[in-house]
């Protein structure tokens, strides 16, 4: 099949003839939909935000904003997309009116992106009760305004009026994800909907590049100009979209967008609850997945230290079925994993009960929407007497892979959770790693954080316990 159709601002579009390597943003702009802007082409600025109609966790249709610069055009197949040009119906939309009246735009280049993020927030079920969610615009950069008027525009948004056509749209189901097999010349894009199909396609096309949310891979395509002959997208694979909060484990499908995990876990386990708000931005989390975060095996990825601390297991699926890899064995080298050829990450299993003390810390230049200089996931199990029965202290950003400080863990186990024990652990941790200097921080700072975050753990938990 080589046609590529989707709905854009309410109109059926045939985008056949486009390279499967192209992004939605480039295609939009080439076709004259220039309201959507490029500010960075790496998911940081939100100037390219567009809105998808997607199924929410309760099954209903939702407006979900995403970065079109990291969205492969082929992923749009069968989907419904709204750009800034599709927001106003005759008169300005309330979101647009608020931005105009409060001085929310100066140069206006970031504005379409803000409008799209605010648009999605406007229709978010729960806004009426919870109020405006600042996180909804945390993935949009503005260099001109200093944000205050935009925040006020968001906070002052009226409730949805009767007869709002965009609201009506949400009463119908979101488009289903049909399988896609799109080709342009020798370049192909597959979007299977079952795991069996996915592994079979991968076996048949061993050189295929796997993509899920694309928030890592498409950055590489944009920045390093990498191009692929065959792309295998996992975003629609049913078996990878599960979420099961069972008695003995929390099991999360590899393709579940992080924002959905965030919404479903609530406050538990605290390590994950603390992780997601610090993980990039809502725009990115609407696409990014755990499978992608683990498979990309970045030493500064945020979920690995958290999942290491939680003692998670990774279930992988390949041509000969499934196997389970303890997460501590997943990372085998700089950006390398224990996945065998043809294997995909299917889901992550987090055993219960959760550790009695759990903390996730992220050190970065900016609190929101930043990548870690150092990240740490700390989990301790204390018994009734306050003695440490188990400890997992995991770090990102201090070595070639996410790692645990095992000597420091041993310094804690079997001892009362005390200042002395923490000092012992710090002494062990201090010599465990030799971090590097780069643009995010010096080696000395990273090394200092290894022990300082243990002090922080003590201040946050032990000192008051």
């Amino acid at each position: 099949m080589s046609s590529l159709r989707f709905t854009l601002n309410g109109r059926e579009i045939d985008a056949s003839g486009a390279d499967p390597n192209t992004t939605l943003l480039l295609w939009l702009r080439e076709r004259g939909w220039t309201g959507t802007k490029e500010g960075c082409a790496e998911g940081e600025c939100g100037a390219c935000a567009v809105v998808l109609v997607r199924r929410g966790s309760d099954g209903g249709a939702r407006y979900v904003p995403v970065n079109s610069c990291l969205f492969l055009l082929a992923s749009a197949a069968g989907q419904e997309i709204l750009t800034v040009e599709g927001v106003a119906a005759g008169a300005l939309h309330p979101v647009q009116r608020a931005m105009v009246e409060l001085g929310g735009s100066q140069c206006g280049y970031c504005t379409p992106g803000f409008v799209m993020s605010l648009f999605a927030e406007y229709y978010r079920p729960g806004r009426a009760e919870e109020g405006f969610d600042l996180e909804s615009i945390a993935g949009n950069l503005c260099r001109c305004t200093g944000y205050r008027p935009i925040r006020e525009a968001g906070r002052g948004l009226p409730m949805i009026a009767d007869g709002d056509a965009h609201a009506d749209r949400l009463s119908r189901p979101a488009p289903a994800s049909e399988p896609v097999d799109y080709a342009l010349g020798a370049r192909r894009y597959f979007r299977p909907t079952s795991l069996a199909e996915a592994t079979a396609l991968y076996a048949a096309h061993p050189d295929a590049k796997v993509v899920c949310g694309g928030t890592d891979l498409v950055v590489e395509m944009n920045q390093r100009l990498r191009r692929f002959e065959t792309i295998l997208s996992l975003e629609a694979v049913e078996e990878l979209s599960g979420f099961d909060d069972g008695d003995d484990a929390l099991v999360i499908g590899a393709a579940v967008p992080l924002s959905e995990i965030e919404a479903r876990i609530g406050d538990d386990p605290p390590i994950l609850a603390a992780l997601f708000p610090l993980f990039s931005s809502r725009l990115i989390r609407n696409r990014a997945t755990l499978g992608g975060n683990l498979a990309t095996a970045s030493p500064i990825g945020d979920s690995p230290p958290a999942l290491l601390a939680l003692g998670a297991e990774v279930v992988v699926a390949g041509p000969s079925g499934e196997r389970t890899i303890p997460i501590a064995e997943l990372f085998t080298g700089y950006r390398q994993t224990a996945l065998a050829p043809g294997e995909l990450i299917a889901r992550v299993r987090i055993p219960k009960p959760y550790p009695s003390i759990g903390r996730f810390y992220k050190v970065s230049k900016r609190v929101h929407d930043d990548i870690s200089t150092v990240a740490a996931g700390f989990a301790l199990d204390l018994d009734a007497s306050g003695t440490v029965r188990g400890a997992r202290l995991a770090y990102g950003g201090v070595a070639a892979t996410p790692v645990r400080a095992t000597a420091a863990e041993q310094a804690l186990v079997g001892k009362p959770f005390s200042r002395e024990a923490i000092e012992d652990a710090k002494a062990k941790a201090a010599t465990a790693f030799t971090p590097m200097t780069d643009q995010r921080g010096s080696a000395a700072y990273r090394a200092a954080m290894v022990t300082s975050l243990l002090d922080k753990l003590w201040a946050d938990t032990g000192a008051t316990a």
Binding site: R29, L92, E101, Q106, Y109, Y147, S442
Partner: protein, 771 residues
Amino acid sequence: MSIGRAIPHESAEGHVTGAALYTDDLVGRYPGCLHAWPVAGMHAHARVLAVHAEDALAMPGVVTVLDAKDVPGENDVGPAKKDETLFPTEIVYWGQPVVWVLAETEEAAKMAALTVRVDVEALPAITSIEQAIEQGSFHTEPGVIARGDAEGALARATHTLSGELFVGGQEHFYLETHASIASVDEAGSVLVQSSTQHPTETQEIVARVLDLPKNQVVVQSLRMGGAFGGKETQANPWAAVAAIGCVKTGRPVRVRLDRMRDFTMSGKRHPFLGRWRIGFDDDGRIEAYDLELFSDGGFSLDLSAPVLHRALFHADNAYYVPHMRVVGRVCKTNACSHTAFRGFGGPQGMIMIEDAIDRIARDRGLPPSAVRERNFYRAGHTTHYEQPLDQADRVARIWGELKASSDFEARAGAIEAFNASSPDRKRGLAITPVKFGISFTAKWYNQAAALVLVYKDGSVQVNHGGTEMGQGLHTKMLQVAAHALGVPLDVVRVMPTRTDKVPNTSATAASSGTDLNGAAVLAACETIRERLAEVAGRVLGTDPGDLVFRDGVVARVDGHGPTASFAEVVSRAYFDRVPLSATGFYRTPGIHFDEKAGRGKPFHYFAYGAAVAEVEVDRFTGMYALRRVDILHDVGDSLSPLVDRGQVEGGFAQGVGWLTQEELWWAPDGRLGTVNASTYKLPTIGECPEEMHVTLLPRATEPGVVHGSKAVGEPPFMLAFAVREALREAVAAFAGRPKLVELASPATAEQVYWAIERLSRGGAVAEEAAQ
């Protein structure tokens, strides 16, 4: 009344609907447009031996590869002097474009550029200010401004301190990266659409590379998606490449830098190194100040000389220094060419004395706010270049009003109590002032012209030399014109800025856009109104002097008698053969400066403001949050309060970014490591303080400026010093009452962490802080 009304930006509806067009949005309107992509040299300094483009030329879609042979005129785009080779034989900064691929699509051009090999012989590079000083690599001779006898006064001073501070640069990060589209018409004239702050200079550079007279080149700046100084000179090379490509191929050519190329190929705010000595009395009153400044100019001169000059002019900030000597020099390094950026050297000059004053306060055990206040300019004072201060008392007035409205003293007490009971998180509160001189220091730039056209139906077009980059200039011009002609705003249209409408314009810079162009637009509109008044006087049988133009109606001042609509009067004027277009011109009066003597009145007036900031710092990581900000800023009588408030808040936020988390990181080999948004961190909504009180100073009419207003673009940037000083207060709170709190700039979380560490280890840190 359109003056002083808080109206939205004139393009706001276009912004929110996506209908507003920017240069790169026009590509689709140029059928057959070719796309250019650079081949960059990956060395800080190297000789180009050969370029191998054969593979690229053989690729589908590739049309040509532009090199030096394709330049009809001069292969140089230097704006200040001819020191910027467009197609170089010597690479002088890391990532410099060597040749450009032109192809049918951007994708084809990018892929082809990857295949071009550049053979080079690496040369030794100078990659820091220190290296430049060591090796005597400078763009300029030292510039000096001095008053009194700083050396002698330092020797006599009751106390003296000395210090050194390196302040990092800053990436403009306008959301819209550089873009140009050039096309050529049947007569061989070139039209360049360019995202430029200075269309006249872009026109000049394009004419230079094409060897055309200027009347054969038209440059249009439609609107910019932000500029902040980064498009004052630095839009020129890309316009030149597009123009050369278009002349060579006969087809329109588009040059658009993606973010990474924009980062590597365009200049930034200058990094500065300052070394100072300060003398003061027991009460912390400054007796003498000696400051030596070195800026990193990068590979070419660009605007570095006037930027350095503004740093010298602003080395006093708001403080009176009886004996003062400031010397500055521009270093030549193998970096991109650093350039204008909001504040234009002023911030780098001012930060030094703010550091020094904090040192004085801690040394004397006095509150920094008290020492600042004690040193303010007072009536009768002149600056170190002996310009009198017409409103010397204004700093003190703003200071007092802001301290009261921000509840400064009470909050300082509350914070002390909070800190006493919070070992791991400390808060800091600080207040800092701003005084900023308004005018281009290049005197001839202080002129502007406008062309106003009235059509027979009474609709109006306003052309002026200023460019719109989001600062609201067009909005203000609309208000000025509508007010002067007495018509509703929607009758007036401000046109995109074009060099064939108003020639020989100045850059829209130095915060002067409204002052200069506003006066020119006003003059043009007044000429037309006077002519129309004559006509209306005849029609209405009234003395023209008794008529008012208001809301589209011409009537007698006393409200009696017949009236006529503006359109009727215009139509009548046409049939009476009265001209319906006019130019207006303005030059700033009374400014002069003798560079040799370092004396004069370089500034038409000063803008003032002050800010209070409160922060909270985490001891374990050095990470911090901005909790509350209070600002009182002087914009004269605001022409457009919504626009002005936006400038104050936006400038402040940008200043906060510069001083806190925006860190440019160069590797030792001269490669810029922070080349995109994932490594270079602008403030996000998360850094916008939850509490933000911004007030424009009331009763602040500025005589001699259009409608009593004041320039607003740059001054608020430096209000952000309050955040840096609040961070310093919080750091100090971890260590009792230290005599010295050193803080690097930018004060990233890492640097705040080291500042705390240095104090907690008694000052002598084993210099782990490997910068």
